[in-house]
């Protein structure tokens, strides 16, 4: 059975993601160490906590994570998990994982922050993560910051809220969503199922 490790930064609710991933047929485990990650067939970085605290917890496993990703292990970052893929964040100090060039910025003050609720996906690039997902589909967001990549070729979907920002990014085996697929009903489960399909069993 493919083992999907949910990395725990120690910040709270991992249960929603665990339950949703298991609904797609995956076996999951909660991981905190390099050893846990070394045994993973897929890795998810969940969306609870803060940039600086999460990076502190990731610092012990950074090399293992980088090796696994280079070897082709599928990686899914959700919300904060996606933001960690970039080089830095306006949320707090610390060097991100830098899988992608770019930064993480605060949403503009003219809209209510956090951006909380259901908003639409505008598909800009087809990707296996969005197999079966239609243009304009609603997904659930809860965030105050958004990714600002240096190169737009990783952007799969965009969403409008005060600004137009990338709501899903992908490159090879690295996938990230600014929304929460585990909280986006049937649509979200479909996206997680698509991620599960990329795992070599």
């Amino acid at each position: 059975m493919a083992n999907t490790v949910i990395f725990d930064y120690g910040a709270g609710n991992l249960l929603s993601l665990k339950i949703a991933l298991e609904k797609t047929g995956l076996t999951t485990s909660i991981g905190t160490t390099a050893e846990d990650l070394a045994q993973a067939d897929a890795i998810t970085l969940p969306g609870v906590g803060s940039f600086t605290v999460a990076l502190k917890r990731l610092s012990m496993v950074k090399e293992t994570l980088q090796t696994k990703v280079t070897e082709g292990t599928p990686l899914l970052g959700i919300c904060l998990g996606l933001q960690l893929f970039f080089e830095s964040s306006q949320e707090g100090p610390g060097d991100g994982l830098a899988f992608f060039k770019g930064t993480v910025k605060q949403l503009p003050g003219m809209v209510k922050v956090p951006h909380m609720g259901w908003n639409t996906l505008n598909i800009v690039e087809s990707n296996e993560l969005l197999d079966g997902i239609a243009e304009g589909t609603y997904v659930y967001f809860v965030h105050s910051l958004y990714p600002s990549p240096q190169y737009s070729n990783i952007v799969v979907t965009e969403t409008d809220y005060g600004t137009t920002f990338p709501s899903a990014v992908a490159q090879k085996n690295i996938y990230g969503t600014q929304f929460h697929p585990e909280k986006s009903g049937e649509v979200g489960l479909r996206i997680l199922k698509n991620f599960a399909k990329t795992i070599i069993r």
Binding site: N13, K23, K183
Partner: protein, 267 residues
């Protein structure tokens, strides 16, 4: 398309059972939180709120059990409130699978609680519930609001409306936002259970003073009331209980109506 307005059914839970929705003609409705959560989720609810009214020592175990059950059954966001007075109370609920916790009386009595919770869990999962009653007595230092019935101010009430606080709800909302609240659940005690519609002046006045989302609550009796609170009332989400429990206006009917009226609603 802009952010969709949210339709939020509310379930009052007592000892792990949904109460207040006991419909003599339809005993299934008196059911368990997991079944109802599943039904509302299937019907297109955008989010759910559970208010736990159990007051007893076995509370924690009961709460943990049904919160876990709900988390397994649905994959839309849900908030749990009722008797959350500390970081450890909140942790129990969040680690059982809830996405947000709502605090009410405890936050009024100890506003630092909001900051403590936001620091640990992030402000996005801290809902500050405010119960409000209109007060017609002109009082110094209160924000007076003109209404059809004359000038009033909005007073915060606690302990389920049993205790008036003398606190101005508009001022409290601005403070609570600064303390770290991520969202407001604003309930009008005057309208609660009346089916006369939401207190539009209340939600609009709070919405215009803060920059975080507002869930309006109290008074929903028909779809038009939700339309009014989204447009005139400037609410981001509308909470309702009885119109959904009794199936007078099922969620798809309400959503269809709002969509036809031009409100952005999730398909």
């Amino acid at each position: 398309m802009p952010l969709a307005k949210r339709i939020v059914p509310c379930l009052d839970v007592d000892h792990g059972q949904v109460v207040k929705c006991i419909n003599f003609l339809n005993p299934k409705c008196a059911g368990d939180p997991i079944e109802l959560a599943q039904r509302y989720s299937d019907e297109g609810a955008d989010e759910l709120v559970f208010l736990d009214i159990t007051a007893s020592s076995e509370k924690r175990d009961i709460m943990r059990k049904y919160v876990e059950g709900v988390a397994k059954a649905i994959s839309i966001p849900f908030t749990v409130g009722g008797g959350i007075r500390s970081v450890s109370d909140a942790r129990l609920v969040l680690c059982s699978g809830a996405d947000k916790v709502s605090v009410n009386t405890a936050a009024v009595e100890n506003p630092k609680l909001i900051t403590e919770l936001a620091d640990v869990f992030g402000r996005q999962c801290i809902v500050c519930a405010i119960d409000v009653r209109r007060n017609r007595t002109s009082t110094d230092g209160k924000i007076m609001v003109e209404t059809a019935g004359g000038p009033i101010w909005f007073e915060v009430v606690i302990y389920g409306g049993r205790k008036s606080t003398g606190i101005d709800a508009l001022a409290w909302a601005m403070d609570a936002e600064k303390f770290g609240a991520g969202e407001f659940l604003v309930t009008s005690m005057d309208r609660d259970g009346t089916k006369d519609g939401y207190d539009i002046a209340l939600t609009r006045n709070i919405s215009e003073r803060v920059n975080i989302p507002i869930i309006a609550s109290g008074g929903a009796g028909e779809p038009k009331h939700l339309y009014d609170v989204f447009t005139e009332g400037k609410a981001d989400a509308a909470l309702a209980a009885s119109i959904f429990h009794y199936n007078n206006y099922p969620i798809p009917i309400v959503k269809d109506y709002l969509r036809k009226m031009g409100v952005t609603i999730r398909q």
